[in-house]
Symmetry: C2
Subunit: 295 residues, 2 copies
């Protein structure tokens, strides 16, 4: 079910043309990393906002800022759709007729069941779709804030279907590996369950904690120490982006959230009953888990 790719090889798989559609923080980081690691000979980018194109064209990691997604994907061996999760399938369908035969299309969406299932039909029969999700990012947005180091040692999920073309899967896996990531090949539904727990639930908790504290005396915030700062860093993320992710992954997130609410009710009961052994056990289980985080 799981597969870890080996550590980066000395010689990357060189892609003739890499096209990035709708770059945000991740797309801007992919372009920088691809140039730095010499993963692609040519990097073509299409940005949704026309005013961003001259700025992109001036970057050393952008060989052409295309006027349209259709123009951008022509001649691409690999297309990365870096749009928000709800815009990925529409963009794939929009460019399908303009893809070169054998072109491989992937994405960076945080939710994979629907995209991995409908992606192949969206790109058409002469191209291949393989879903991806690099576990990298920040509370910042925009390609301007990208970093060539963003994927270093970060999990990059690749979520093939049973019918996924083997060579396309290899190309996409090697691509993330060459950018510095650690590739994990996982079924799309399982991916969505995993990220509901390790990414979307923490986001929901950080946002809910901040929303809760926002209702308290405003002076309290200024007293906060580094604990609150770290615990809530991701609550600074873009609300619209996260609304869309929670929409797309609603059922797995709800399941994880409801189970977590039971854990929290257990803590509340232990505090209420003065069951200090249960409180200490929870704190100790939490500490042991935290110490095992590899980053």
């Amino acid at each position: 079910m799981f597969g870890w790719a080996s550590r980066p090889q000395p010689a990357p798989t060189v892609i003739s043309q890499l096209t990035i559609l709708a770059p945000g923080l991740l797309g801007g980081s992919i372009a920088r990393a691809a140039r730095e690691k010499e993963v692609a000979r040519r990097i073509v980018i299409w940005a949704r906002r026309p005013e961003a194109r001259p700025a992109l064209a001036a970057q050393p990691w952008c060989d052409l800022a295309a006027e349209s997604p259709e123009l951008a994907v022509r001649s691409a061996a690999l297309v990365v759709i870096a749009a928000p999760v709800d815009a990925i399938l529409p963009l794939a369908a929009q460019v399908a007729a303009h893809l070169a035969p054998g072109a491989v299309v992937t994405d960076v969406g945080s939710v994979k069941a629907k995209i991995s299932s409908e992606g192949p039909a969206a790109v058409g029969v002469s191209a291949h779709f393989v879903g991806s999700h690099p576990m990298a990012g920040s509370e910042q947005t925009g390609w301007e804030h990208g970093s060539a180091k963003l994927f270093e040692r970060r999990t990059c999920f690749v979520t093939p279907q049973p019918a996924t073309d083997h060579h396309a899967l290899t190309l996409v896996s090697h691509f993330w590996r060459d950018l510095g990531g650690e590739v994990a090949t996982v079924e799309p539904q399982l991916h969505d369950e995993i990220v509901a727990h390790i990414s979307h639930l923490p986001q929901a908790l950080a946002s809910a904690l901040c929303a809760f504290l926002a209702g308290k005396d405003s002076s309290w915030r200024d007293f906060a120490g580094s604990g609150l700062r770290d615990t809530t860093r991701i609550a600074g993320s873009d609300p619209k982006l996260w609304r869309t992710i929670l929409q797309q992954n609603r059922e797995p997130v709800l399941a994880a959230l409801r189970q977590f609410q039971q854990e929290l009710s257990g803590l509340e009961a232990a505090l209420s009953n003065g069951d200090w052994k249960a409180v200490t056990d929870l704190l100790a289980r939490g500490q042991a888990y935290r110490r095992g985080l590899r980053i």
Copy 2:
């Protein structure tokens, strides 16, 4: 109710002898900062573990590693009890008969109602007690990990009672200011309500999240990105230390936790009902609060 001290003055209030009892991370940081800022002419430390005393005595920020708390406090103008919250009042009572007339005793405990109320009687009629709580720390423990910079720009609560001696309050307030902190003078009960929200609830959530995830497939943890890492950093803290803090501040923590559970139930209902406006509103309120954090 609230009072912010002015920013550090050029000339600190110089204390003839500062004594630190039972130093951990905070006590070790106080000694380092006091030496660096020249806040005390002489720094005397008593460590509970005899084997720590030679190591302490070898530090440039320790003039004497005393054999007992009673010996340590003799001649002290200011005594800082840096023990865990449940050991502060017993230590204060233990040294009371050995304090110099007019000596000032403070502490670093995270919970203040009981300590501020019983501290004056514990230190006796010829000395003064003023509760303190610097909002500084880390998931590390032990005086070896201390840092002279730990209090820089951090809130240092000072929690006087109506009967607190004015000069003692000024001495303690200037002490934290001179170590780099920003002093906030708050009633003890209000302090406990504030920290239940901005410190103890975040700790409970981080620990509960880690304890919850510890029950899932162990491979999932290795996929985690920086979001989970930051959200759960404080879950790495010492379980016994936090058990004691939650014990001492049980009622305010329970009140904050129960209100937070309502916020979380609201999010769960919004997700369940597909009320995306409510979901987005919560995320946006959280983002606005987070952006207003001053650190």
